[in-house]
């Protein structure tokens, strides 16, 4: 059981180091077990060092840096053993334009192996998608959905042309 854990942990860790470095253009990160001999008696900590900076308490990272590290973890598990689908609700809310684009391209890349459904208000994320659905609230509090939003009508943040 412990052997199996190590096999999985090491594989995810290798992915994590690689994904984080790609997502941050040169940052470094790794997973560490609190108790290396008996992993089930301790937890798992994340060490992340954005490029050009010194390693800090995870807490001191900025909002965007925390989002990037969290998503790198999700992607590193996905590379080892994809879940059948991913549902991401506004995971780009803290990200600046550069990071939002990096995350959207990484989702696009991994969507060859797993289904990704992402709620987003950001044009950058919508542009990377294969399909874009729109949701609107009709008079009287009823939600409606539009199956194929034309990406060219998408304004900044949540607005799009409703056809007919």
């Amino acid at each position: 059981k412990t052997g199996r854990f190590y096999e999985v942990f090491n594989s995810i860790n290798e992915n994590f180091k690689d994904v984080y470095t790609k997502l941050t253009f040169g940052g470094e990160a790794e997973l560490a077990l609190d108790n290396a001999e008996n992993p089930f008696e301790g937890g798992l900590t994340i060490k992340a060092r954005p490029p050009g900076k010194k390693v800090l308490r995870l807490d001191a990272l900025s909002g965007g840096e925390k989002s990037i590290a969290s998503l790198a973890f999700v992607f590193s598990i996905q590379r080892y053993d994809p879940a059948p689908f991913y549902y991401f609700d506004e995971v780009d809310m803290n990200l600046d334009g550069v990071n939002a684009e990096l995350v959207a391209s990484m989702i696009k890349k991994y969507s060859g192996h797993a289904q990704f459904i992402m709620v987003s208000l950001r044009k950058i994320s919508l542009k990377a998608a294969d399909h874009v659905y729109g949701v609107t609230m009709q008079i009287g509090g009823l939600s409606e959905m539009i199956g194929n939003v034309d990406i060219r009508t998408v304004g900044d943040e949540g607005s799009f042309a409703t056809r007919g």
Partner: protein
């Protein structure tokens, strides 16, 4: 295995019957604030069985039933079906398509006006909660999975305790 359809009926702000098809690959969902985007995620979680209605912003399960909006009458039940493409038989059901449905219906009683019934169906056949959960576990789908990131939770992996984080790896092993 992938999610082919989400069918909602009277679920939260989706106060009618709606089938949302999903294709493989990368689908984005957008729209104004309050339009209903996160409610779709709540519908998925509703079927997968969240630990508590609070996880999908409800006080009790009956809060998930369409309340009528401004001028319509509140519905008395809601149901959501998740239809999966199962050609690879990841789910232990001998069918190319597996529909998992959850149904909640108000059933007020004199001693308990908030009473309700909650039913589960697998491909249209009534199933026990045990059977339902077993099927999901077998396909390794869970409402608490790292693969479903709710609004505002993106940095949860950073914020969570280290033991809870290690358990994510436990469930994968």
């Amino acid at each position: 295995l992938y999610l082919k359809e989400v069918r909602m009926e009277n679920f939260k702000s989706f106060g009618h019957k709606l089938t949302v098809p999903f294709l493989p690959g990368f689908t984005a969902i957008t729209g104004p604030n309050g339009s209903g985007k996160s409610n779709i995620g709540d519908a998925v979680l509703f079927v997968l069985g969240p630990r508590s209605p609070k996880a999908i912003r409800a006080g009790r399960l009956t809060d998930l039933i369409f309340n009528g909006g401004k001028s319509k009458k509140a519905a008395t039940y809601c149901k959501v079906s998740l239809v999966f493409d199962n050609t690879d038989r990841v789910m232990p059901v001998d069918a190319d398509e597996v529909s998992l449905m959850r149904f909640v219906k108000k059933a007020p009683r004199p001693d308990n006006p908030d009473n309700y019934y909650s039913y589960f169906y697998i491909n249209g056949r009534a199933a026990s909660l045990f059977e339902f959960v077993n099927l999901l576990n077998h396909a390794r789908i869970s409402a608490d999975g790292y693969n479903i990131v709710k609004q505002g939770d993106v940095s949860q992996i950073i914020g969570m305790g280290s033991v809870e984080r290690r358990r994510i790896v436990d469930t994968i092993s």
